[in-house]
Amino acid sequence: MTILAKHAAYKTAYDMVRNMGIEPLSVRFDDVLSPTEGVLAGKKTILLGTNNYLGLTFDPACIEKSVEATKHQGTGTTGSRIANGSYDGHLRLEQELAKFYGRQHAMVFTTGYQANLGVLSTLVGRGDHLMLDADSHASIYDGSRLGMAEVIRFRHNNPDDLYKRLRRLEGVPGDKLIVVEGIYSMLGDTAPLKEIAHVKRETGAYLLVDEAHSLGVLGETGRGLAEQAGVEADVDFIVGTFSKSLGSVGGFCVSDNPDFDVMRIVSRPYMFTASLPPGVIASTLEALHQMQIRPELRANLMRNARRLHDGLTALGFETGPEANPIVAAVMPNQEIAVAFWKMLLDAGVYLNLAVPPATPTNNPLLRSSVSAAHTIQQIDTALEAFEHVGRQLGMLSADKRRVGAAS
């Protein structure tokens, strides 16, 4: 018995997976060759679970800027901005983000996780009400616990349920903040943002959208779901991350709120952690630029997303409702999910194995995330592997294939 014995239930579940000869948590890449290829146990493997939506991790311009900044300004800032001051890059990145979103203010955090912690714990406090989609990301739940606001969950993507809960709060003092995500990270479904914006207007609540998975992915110019749904004016705060489409690490919040900058002296996850190193800031700035001048990246991304989503659906797999870059195949149970994941890996395809409670239902998921950098050939290779393994595990009948292909 040790101090960690309280987590025995989790350990038991993990040991069950290990007993099948698999260590999902210790996948170790010998090398990473490109945004879409790595070397695992000496074998070239297609990376299909990286969130590297625009494939910018190896972009020559981003790498060059990052190297240059590191050479000139060093490997780290070794402190927080409030204590040690900002580098020119932090301020420029904030200006560029504000400009990109057409907003007055932007603030950069050290990760997207910390952005949610820092923003949620600051926007609402004791006596306020935080309305969270039930399927919210862990960083949103954790942010809600860092503050003192009352936290109320509404049914996933259900504006009527949200409305009902806000109506119950009618006349109750305190600010109300609705939090939703652009694209949900497990099934790739988008929030019904038009309807949610309508509820927001009806009830006088504030609205925050976490565009972690939709920046550079959705909208005419890549500003995310708010842009795609045409409701940017209703969204009071946008949170996002650099760790997906921008290929680096870090988080941000943008807003037109006139008091925005007070967050810099009250938001603890902003104040009490080291700021991003110059090399990260520089590649992120360049990636933001590349994202804007190369709209074809988004077009390729969506082409690949549709190909994988429609391909899996045609094979007879149950997938998420929309063809977005996150494509998940629903597995009937943990044993099949683990075996399927392992067999895909043996076939040279790496993706994410997601098990409850991280998944929205009791089913495990094989979660892929598609990149603009995937070739059509790579997507087709992945589909062939899915078909092959699905048959071996008896998940796909010959019939289903025909039904799927005909529809």
């Binding site: 039930a134 936290v151 969950r153 349920d161």
Partner: protein, 76 residues
């Protein structure tokens, strides 16, 4: 109120249940976290209340739940 709660349990679990104030919702009824969430949301609909997350984490038994619902309805 306990009868109403029992019938909501039965709807969510899809089987008959026997409950007393001391019934432990997770241990005795074998609910997982998703089951608990669906159950809580059904209770919220039935009584037209929202149970804040910190209140939900304080609820372990059926008796705790009844008290929480009563307090929230009074507060409303």
């Amino acid at each position: 109120m306990r009868d109403d709660i029992a019938s909501i349990f039965e709807q969510v679990l899809n089987r008959p249940v026997e409950i007393t104030d001391d019934t432990d919702i997770v241990e005795d009824l074998g609910m997982d976290s998703l089951g608990v969430m669906n159950f809580v949301m059904a209770i919220e609909d039935f009584y037209d209340i929202s149970i804040p997350l910190d209140r939900i984490t304080q609820v372990q038994t059926v008796g705790d739940l009844i008290r929480a619902v009563e307090e929230l309805r009074k507060g409303a």
